[in-house]
């Protein structure tokens, strides 16, 4: 990847002049200063939410799944809704890292680390639900195909739930490895700044990284390979999650459109979550020059596209329900929109199809506050999408005699809250203990930014204007001589 890959038409990604040491200082600063009041407050809230969730989970395990609002007809509701929601959130991170890396989208550099961390934490939250939703979670290890004295009784490789076990754990492991490999140079940077115990800890974590070019060469290769592996993995994971539903016989679940629909939805919700986190982070950390409006804007464009796919999928489902002539299917969709859970359906449609359309307006997609609000709405909408798919398909299926209603209990709400608590606790800890932005990668794009600024300044000087650092956007062919 050499420099000429970067078009001169592009705007620099670091909008203020910074030295390399400056970048290091800046990114490492949150790890080295005392936590701010805002952080402490946020952390307290997150930990309290987590504690409530932990209590609710132990209550569930002690008493039985009966403390939830499920019944003989609706066997999954909040549990799997939350699972799919969090897996979806977990998609943007690796996607930003891997796919954008493959597509040479350099703007990913300042957001990929946090997005990957977000992925890991979201997958942790997601992984929690399949475990606690089991009637006997302490026997969950029976899902692993290990030799045993039962003859050996293996597992059912035809079950989408087993695919999930493999998909989610592989996704988590590969994402974690990808993230960790990406962290290595920065861990070494931190190690070399730190003192005492911290230096020793980071010394272990950095695995002896010394910036050797021999290492860098292979490291870059491996990073590319990991990105290439992670990309289909991201797509496969939500494909498999969608098969939990698509391979069933239930009207509303049994549909081949689910894999692309779910992947698009996952990217959609994941980007919304990344945006949410990034906008808050850049504000709190004062990193507006590192996470620029351009980053945000690019992400809103991804949201417009994926939101469009999701909207198309909604429409297609309805069309197929009508076109197939299957009365069960037709009823399910009529019931979805106009049945007792119609309100959830319309929340889903307005948040997921309506809201993203506002991003067509430049003013909206360049206003961080507007983006934040809309991104939150999209996350709400995507949660409801999973709720609608799961609950409205189950609660009225083939035999009207078994039709039933579902309402969550406080315990279920507490577990949902707890999953957010877990997510934010981890994320807030992450902002304190690890470099949130890839120092090495940002340094890599720094030179380009500096040259752009210099060239711009030179052009301005030639034109007799005064130079302004950070002035951007002029397409000037001149670049520094290199030979």
């Amino acid at each position: 990847m050499s420099e000429h890959a970067l078009s001169d038409l592009r705007e620099p990604l670091v909008t203020e002049p910074r030295t390399m040491a400056g970048i290091t200082d800046e990114v490492c600063a949150p790890m080295e200063r005392r936590p701010s009041i805002l952080w402490t407050l946020a952390f307290l809230v997150a930990v309290v939410a987590l504690a409530i969730g932990v209590w609710a989970v132990q209550h569930t395990i002690r008493k039985g799944i009966g403390v939830w609002g499920l019944n003989k007809t609706v066997g999954w509701a909040f549990d799997i809704t939350n699972f799919v929601f969090w897996v979806g959130i977990g998609h943007a991170g690796t996607l930003i890292s891997a796919i954008l890396f493959l597509f040479r989208q350099k703007w990913r550099t300042s957001v990929n680390r946090a997005a990957e961390a977000m992925t890991l934490f979201a997958v942790m939250c997601a992984g929690l639900f399949p475990i606690i939703h089991m009637g006997r979670p302490w026997l969950g290890f029976w899902m692993l195909p290990y030799p045993n004295t039962r003859g050996s009784l293996w597992v059912n490789f035809r079950s989408p739930l087993l695919w999930d076990v493999f998909a989610i754990s592989t996704y988590f492991i590969v994402s974690a490895v990808f993230w960790y490999v990406g962290l290595l140079p920065d861990l070494a940077t931190v190690r070399d700044r730190a003192k005492g115990l911290k230096r020793r800890i980071f010394g272990v974590l950095a695995l002896g990284w010394n910036g050797s070019q021999k290492t860098w060469l292979r490291y870059e290769t491996v990073y590319l390979l990991l990105a290439a592996l992670a990309t289909p993995l991201v797509l496969s994971v939500h494909t498999i999650v969608s098969m939990d539903f698509a391979t069933s016989v239930l009207p509303g679940w049994h549909t081949p459109i689910f894999p692309p629909y779910f992947v698009a939805g996952a990217v959609f919700s994941g980007f919304a979550m990344v945006l949410t986190l990034m906008i808050i982070t850049r504000k709190i950390m004062r990193w507006e020059h590192l996470i620029t409006v351009r980053h945000l804007e690019n992400m809103t464009k991804v949201i417009i596209v994926t939101g469009g796919i999701v909207g198309l999928a909604y429409g297609t489902e309805f069309f197929m329900a009508w076109y197939s002539g299957n009365m069960y299917e037709a009823f399910t969709f009529k019931n979805r929109a106009f049945g007792p859970y119609g309100w959830a359906y319309w929340i889903m449609v307005s948040c997921n199809v309506g809201v993203p359309q506002l991003f067509w307006i430049k003013k909206v997609r360049t206003s961080p506050w507007m983006i934040l609000i809309l991104a939150l709405l999209i996350n709400v909408g995507m949660w409801f999408e999973r709720f609608v798919i799961i609950v409205t398909s189950l609660h009225r299926d083939f035999l009207p005699s078994s039709w039933a209603m579902y309402a969550p209990t406080l315990i279920e709400l507490a577990i949902l809250l707890g999953s957010f608590g877990l997510f934010f606790t981890l994320f807030l800890l992450f902002t304190r203990v690890l470099p949130m932005i890839s120092i090495a990668e940002v340094k890599g794009v720094l030179g380009f930014a500096a040259r752009k600024r210099e060239a711009a300044a030179a052009a301005k000087a030639k034109a007799g204007g005064s130079s302004a650092p950070g002035g951007v956007g002029l397409p000037i062919a001149a670049s520094k001589e290199r030979s």
Binding site: F141, Y146, N148, T149, R150, G151
Partner: protein
């Protein structure tokens, strides 16, 4: 510090995996030989004296349960034989309404397993020793086999392969519901 850490770590990981793999067999009761309230010797009764198993365990060919003999069954002989032995005295006391004899159960299948002695003895014609080991040599009863599901299945699978009987009559099903019902 150096590569020398690797083997250790590998060993640890392997040990962990091994524990997981063998985990369920660790709970097996194979070799269980608890002390019993009466010093009863199968070696003497079933071995030396050659009393047939069914004399005492009369349910073995009639019922799910082989059963433990009623105290009166022991006394069929022991009113004559060694009536004054302190061990036999325990039986007489129990029969007279005193303290009950509480044998310690040796062979225990979990409750979710349906096992019928009759099907294995009367119908399949297996000797008691096939599962219970050489009881006639045991002074104190010991569980000879691990009695795990895999152990049951090994026999069921083998005999299912050998049979020439029509399927409906074939013994030793490997269906789940043969034992879990």
């Amino acid at each position: 510090m150096s590569m020398s850490n690797y083997p250790n770590r590998m060993l640890l990981a392997l040990a962990g995996l091994g524990l997981l793999v063998t985990g369920c067999n660790v709970g097996s009761q194979q070799g269980y030989e608890p002390p019993q309230p009466i010093a009863y010797s199968h070696a003497q009764h079933a071995g030396d004296l050659q009393i047939p198993c069914g004399y005492c365990h009369s349910g073995a060919e009639r019922s799910r349960h082989a059963g433990v003999p009623a105290v009166s069954t022991c006394m069929n002989c022991h009113t004559q034989v060694l009536p004054d032995s302190p061990e036999i005295q325990k039986l007489s006391r129990a029969l007279a309404g005193g303290e009950q004899v509480q044998w310690v159960k040796v062979h225990r299948l979990p409750d979710h397993v349906y096992f019928s002695h009759k099907s294995h003895t009367l119908t399949a014609g297996l000797a008691c020793q096939t599962c219970h080991g050489p009881v006639q040599q045991m002074v104190r009863l010991r569980q000879a086999n691990d009695m795990s599901m895999g152990w049951c299945l090994s026999c069921h699978r083998a005999s299912a392969k050998k049979t020439t009987l029509p399927t409906a009559l074939a013994p030793s099903p490997t269906d789940c519901s043969a034992c879990h019902q």
